[in-house]
């Protein structure tokens, strides 16, 4: 098991969800909320508890952009590159984000529902609006000890 998801913790999550109809997505979300991704060691127990094949499970995990099979970086910046944000400069934000420190995952998202205050992004789960490149660059400066 991984550092943050013990065998017991996984078993508890499975127990908590297996009785629900359509349990797989809630269970995957719960696993990922605990350790940040879906570890290899979780595949067989989940597949067998929900009576699906491992291939089927991997197929579901890979279909959804939210689910990861490897550990995430320390920080995560999701930049909206959809129409409203693009019209308000998201491409410049995207360029600015390329200079992020290596401990930051940079991802694209299509709309955060914040299009009344474009361009928008999300940093470590926090919604940010009316961004500019300078503010993006300050994100990692704020993180430095």
């Amino acid at each position: 098991m991984t550092d943050t998801l013990t065998e017991d913790a996984l078993a508890a999550l499975i127990e908590q969800h297996r009785g629900r109809r359509g349990a797989l997505l809630p269970l995957l979300h719960a696993v990922q909320a605990t350790c940040g991704y879906i570890p290899d060691a979780a595949i067989a127990p989940i597949a067998s508890a929900l009576r699906i094949s491992r291939a089927e499970l991997e197929g579901v995990i890979s279909f959804y952009a939210d689910f990861r099979r490897s550990a995430p970086n320390a920080h995560r910046l999701r930049i909206c590159r959809a129409e409203s944000c693009r019209a308000m400069g998201s491409e410049a934000l995207w360029q600015a984000a390329q200079s992020a420190p290596s401990d930051t995952d940079i991802e694209v998202v299509y709309c955060l529902g914040a299009c009344a205050a474009s361009p928008a992004a999300e940093y470590d789960g926090r919604l940010l609006c009316r961004l500019d490149a300078a503010r993006i660059a300050r994100l990692w400066q704020e993180d430095q000890p």
């Binding site: 939210d66 299009c115 009344a116």
Partner: protein, 514 residues
């Protein structure tokens, strides 16, 4: 009673600083020995004025905005709590032209109530609709629904009562009500506002629907990009259960209805109702061939009523005020009110709920105030699969059929304006990139054609030596997608692409060749 100061707790208002302003105000009040109740409410939908402070005065709710924490001292010096004069003073908020010109039925509570307060909900007419349905019976309500003229607000605008009759007609079996809260269209945020700001309205609507079609279990499928909405809904479900508005015995009727809130996982296609159903079932979110319709064979193989958030949230209004009152708004076959969300380059971006009928130009210029910089070049209505319109189309009235006749869609009501700096070929490139990224993979034209189309646009943007041929190829490709796609993701891609090419051909063919 001390003065009330209302500040929104909407996620976008908070991203713009509403929490900071609320904290700064509380601290400043303490320092000055003043008392006031800081009430965190839903958003008005006046985002260019956020953070917005509202204070009760004799003249009504008096606004200040956009406020930063640095403004708090000068606001208090100016007599904020009495509605004193200040450069940020807006006057009575209801009199702002942006609001005064609206007809808010579904968003009647926006900016006025604490989203999770069941007391606030009940005091503002909440659950009166459900009570009426319990008194008059299901058949009577379905007649009201038909009389209201309500058509689904998720995009396809299908008459609601016909879908309900389809679900009811399926013999003696379990049924489900599913709320489509996947709101993936860029530029759209009305569902988000409703879920964050008035979650009980959605739950009441689902309950009315469930009683009428005979469902005892409901699901709300919310996109994971909306964590605040998910949290609010989960709490609202718990409160409604505790108060007997959900659960085994709804409002003493002896009827049961339970609701579960489900989070999506980052797939736009799960807004398509059959993919959404697959996703709740725990599968890849792939589109199902139809027939059968979800009304016949939906979630877990059972008859399922799938509705958009705003369709469901309209039901309490229709139940309370009657179908005729709703039908009174609107025109032709587009009845009631429509929620529109202004986005992009406009001066005033926010939520408009209006009866059908005003023109696109009124939305963009009168409500939106035109572009922040320069002029509005084009407007995309109805999400990333909607057509681009220009000032030549500003006469178009908000009306499903009128938009269709112009080769455009109203969809879910998003309005994204772009200014003259916007490269329309870049927008066409985005449409293909988006389609390629979000395709469920079931049809080859959508899966492969979207990648191919993106390459052609890129070639054009770099200055193609065969620009005219490439444009013809693009149009042919989107026609193929239109004709051979199982769902509207591939099937509607021609709208944004063709309209961009038709309105702005030079931006595709007139590039410098390298």
């Amino acid at each position: 009673m001390s003065v009330r100061v209302r500040i929104s707790e909407d996620s976008v208002a908070c991203a713009l600083g509403a929490d900071d302003v609320a904290r700064a105000l509380a601290a400043a009040l303490a320092v000055r020995g003043l008392t006031a109740d800081i009430v965190r409410v839903s958003a008005r939908g006046l985002y260019w004025l956020e953070p917005l402070l509202e204070v009760d005065t004799d003249a009504g709710s008096f606004g200040y905005g956009p406020v930063t924490d640095a403004d708090i001292d000068s606001l208090l010096d100016a007599g904020l709590l009495q509605g004193g004069a200040h450069p940020l003073a807006l006057g009575p908020v209801d009199a702002l032209p942006f609001l005064a010109r609206q007809q808010r039925l579904v968003f009647a509570r926006a900016g006025l109530i604490r989203p999770l307060s069941l007391d606030d909900y009940l005091e503002s007419g909440g659950y009166a609709g459900l009570k009426r349905v319990l008194e008059t019976g299901e058949d009577a309500f379905i007649a009201e629904l038909e009389a209201s003229g309500l058509r689904g607000r998720g995009g396809a605008a299908f008459p609601a009562h016909i879908k309900w009759q389809g679900v009811r007609a399926q013999g003696d079996t379990e049924r489900f009500v599913v709320c489509n809260a996947d709101e993936g269209d860029s530029g759209a945020y009305a569902d988000r506002m409703l879920m964050e700001g008035d979650p009980y309205a959605l739950l009441e609507g689902m309950t009315i629907a469930a009683l009428c079609v005979g469902a005892e279990q409901g699901y709300v499928y919310v996109r994971s990009e909306y964590p605040h909405a998910i949290e609010k809904l989960k709490q609202a479900v718990a409160h409604a259960e505790a108060a007997g508005f959900l659960g085994e015995d709804i409002a003493g009727s002896g009827r049961a209805f339970r609701v579960e809130v489900r989070a999506g996982a980052g797939a736009y296609i799960c807004g398509e109702e059959s993919a959404l159903i697959e996703s709740i079932e725990g599968k890849r979110g792939q589109v199902r061939a139809r027939p059968p319709l979800p009304a016949v064979c939906g979630l877990f193989g059972k008859p399922t009523l799938v509705h958009n958030v705003l369709s469901l949230a309209s039901l309490p209004v229709i139940a309370r005020d009657g179908g005729a009152a709703f039908y009174h708004f609107g025109r032709e076959r587009s009845r009631g009110t429509l929620a529109l969300t202004l986005a992009g380059c406009l001066r005033r971006c926010g939520l408009i709920e209006t009866a059908f009928g005003p023109t696109l130009g009124e939305l963009v210029d009168d409500f939106g105030g035109g572009a922040k910089m320069g002029r509005v070049k084009a407007v995309q209505v109805g999400g990333p699969l909607g057509a681009w319109l220009t000032v030549d189309d500003f006469d178009l009235p908000l009306d499903y059929e009128a938009f269709a006749a112009r080769g455009a869609i109203l969809g879910h009501g998003s309005v994204v304006a772009v200014d003259e700096a916007c490269d329309m070929a870049g927008m066409a490139r985005l449409a293909f990139t988006f389609c390629a990224a979000e395709s469920c993979g079931k049809c080859t034209p959508c899966r492969v054609g979207s990648v191919r189309g993106g390459e052609i646009v890129e070639r054009l943007m770099a200055g193609s030596h065969h620009a005219a041929d490439d444009v013809a190829l693009l149009l042919e490709l989107t026609d193929t997608l239109r004709d051979a796609s199982l769902c509207a993701l591939g099937g509607m891609l021609h709208y944004p692409v063709r309209s961009a090419i038709e309105h702005f051909p030079d931006e595709f063919t007139g590039r410098d060749t390298r």
